[in-house]
Symmetry: C2
Subunit: 463 residues, 2 copies
Amino acid sequence: MTDENLNTLIEHSEDAPFLLSDQEIRDIINAVRAQDPDTVHAILGDLAPVDIAELIAKVTDEDRRELLLMYGETMNPLVFAEMDSELRRTTLSTLAAEQVAGIVSRLESDDALGMVLDLDEQFRQEIIRKLSSKIRLAVEEGLSFPEKSAGRLMQREVVAVPQFWTVGKTIDYLREAANDLPDDFFDIFVIDPAYHVLGQIPLNRVIRSKRSVKMEALVLDEIMTIPATMDQEELAIIFRRDNITSAPVIDENQRLIGVVTIDDIVDVIEDEAEEDMMKMAGVDQGDMYRAVLSTTGTRFRWLFVNLLTAILASMVISLFDATIEQIVALAVLMPIVASMGGNAGTQSLAVAVRALATRELSGANTWRIIWKESLVGSLNGFAFAVLAGVITALWFGSPMLGVVIAAAMWINLIVAGFFGACIPIILNKYGSDPAVSSTVFLTMMTDVVGFFAFLGLAAVLLF
Amino acid sequence: MTDENLNTLIEHSEDAPFLLSDQEIRDIINAVRAQDPDTVHAILGDLAPVDIAELIAKVTDEDRRELLLMYGETMNPLVFAEMDSELRRTTLSTLAAEQVAGIVSRLESDDALGMVLDLDEQFRQEIIRKLSSKIRLAVEEGLSFPEKSAGRLMQREVVAVPQFWTVGKTIDYLREAANDLPDDFFDIFVIDPAYHVLGQIPLNRVIRSKRSVKMEALVLDEIMTIPATMDQEELAIIFRRDNITSAPVIDENQRLIGVVTIDDIVDVIEDEAEEDMMKMAGVDQGDMYRAVLSTTGTRFRWLFVNLLTAILASMVISLFDATIEQIVALAVLMPIVASMGGNAGTQSLAVAVRALATRELSGANTWRIIWKESLVGSLNGFAFAVLAGVITALWFGSPMLGVVIAAAMWINLIVAGFFGACIPIILNKYGSDPAVSSTVFLTMMTDVVGFFAFLGLAAVLLF
């Protein structure tokens, strides 16, 4: 690269928009709609795969179809690797099997596997049959590992050297093998003849050491060998915990079969945190890229369960219809008690769900967390009992009604704190995902207790 | 390292518990309570800093104080770097200023800054005065950058070489300077004499190239220079987008002043995703490590705002108290409409908040998202209108009451979808954080519309 090239590079990178601008997106859409393939090719030719993936995500279904018709053939296969998986599934489904197989064949093993995984079962089998035997083998082996496991994330291309090699010999080998090495790597693994991992060496340790130094002298004090079946969430915790950039993956015979690198883990971390948030709200991941009907269907299930719990709460209310008939103020006030319970409980719930996901909550501190949440619920419960009690007494001119709402509020916020912490812990203990169903159980609890305590106390104390 | 050492290492790493076990935690707590410092030192001496940090997080406040008294003096300062920031703040606050300054002085520049940042203002100033001038300078410069900016995350120790150097000369230099280099680095930067960044070279490109190759021939096609003032959230998006392991940070004169590495970014990504989830639930980050009173206080604010919106909803109900008095079934049914609206709206909200955070939602697709959410709300609204209508008609033997709840349900779910998408978009547009207050606005909306539509339609249609 000449100096001039370097200078253009700097200028370009200084000007480089941090993301594709909305104006650029509009320009491309206009060219697509004007059936102007030359302009489309000219603009897209300058964009990085990740930008094209973003563009495809942001246009309408029709424009996307049009764009793929115009540009699909020449598109860099990496564009598909950069897409959201739900979007990729729908986009690839519109293409012919040959075309998809062609795209998959041009990717590295981990990207190829990721792409095949997203497809619907039948289409997937069709694609796999069309792959070259080498890639087919890699994909089929990947499929043999559990979903979301290290085996599915790993890259099969690894840099490993025997323990007795020196730095000099290693560097000479890397220079010779330059073209057969993975595109990117951060660590070199030291192995014995049976492919057992003896150590891990970050590249910077190699490059700063003299040629005569033995590789085994450079290994990290601790290495974490990852069984191919390990769940990606656990894997992400290890990467965060140990601040590592790659980790060796081993098979059931302890043999090195691949490497997981930090860039895959970054996606896992983002996905897992996002997943919890989405699950708690009752939304599937990739929801944004689903078609309207598919979104409606997946969300329906969650809402249906909520309808059932709402009806349950209504049944509790109907137990007291005679009481409400006499004091209609009860109907006016009862949603306050239920809603405060739901909100306070959600606070405890969010903390517990997150702490379980990051393993900050475990056997050693379970009871302390439950106790703390109950205590916080009790303290805020008392504060809001006083507030709601005074407001109610003034609003309806009835001190006794104030006492009733105060007592119900206090009870419900203690219940909310206690169950907000307990429900995810119990679900987790029995192997359920605490993020998925906690909210439903919790609101059921706080609605039922809120209405029952308030209306029940009213029935007892106000007559 | 001898072969024997290597073998012990393997065995250890195979047996190594993936995290500290609850049994180990209990053993240490027992030793602390038995006032047995020898056992405490023996056990903790074998643990990595990250494990000790986890241990400290999981014990009670009293045990923690006791433990620090026994072991604090000899504790590796990295333990503090590994702690949750809220826990670190409270833990450090219990120590003397000299002791804290001593800990900070033994850390690398980015960890030292991070630790000082967490402290309360007054204590922070006291600590800074006690630091050595070199570290004080680094900390003060770090403090001059905006909160959560690249300048605060970066490490000041960088590996950079002139553009005309060869691979051979670079390696010779790294071998000589071995001890002055940062502990860990992934890229070498190419700079001109004025410290402008000309290119970035991953270590693996250097190590696989012949000695005679010029460094400038190895630079990545694109580099992203990061202004020190860039927000960490934007920075995380760039790292994810471009799959890089480090990025050069520049000052306002475009000069290289530091480097941000992927391990910092991993924490940012985890934090940002977690933050959104916590904010939507009305909880502060670090909530788990706050004392009961502090947790109660921060959560109170959020609940208080919710009390106000609940009272507003009650006022809407009270407009119709005469209607409810005549048909008490309305009181029984009205929470169903409000709660379904809240849940459906939260689904739209979660999708929009997340898409805004990841920049998947921008000007180009705003209207499409809003339209889609309204449509999904309308479709599910219709489905649940039919369901709720039929159930109500059968339950109360009144087809007209079924019609009323059906109509109200439909209206409320359309409103929920529309505002669930709109509210975060509008808040974001006016520079507010969409995750913080969206939920409050949304439930206010769905409660008010739910009650008003249901009771209003009842008042009109049932009399």
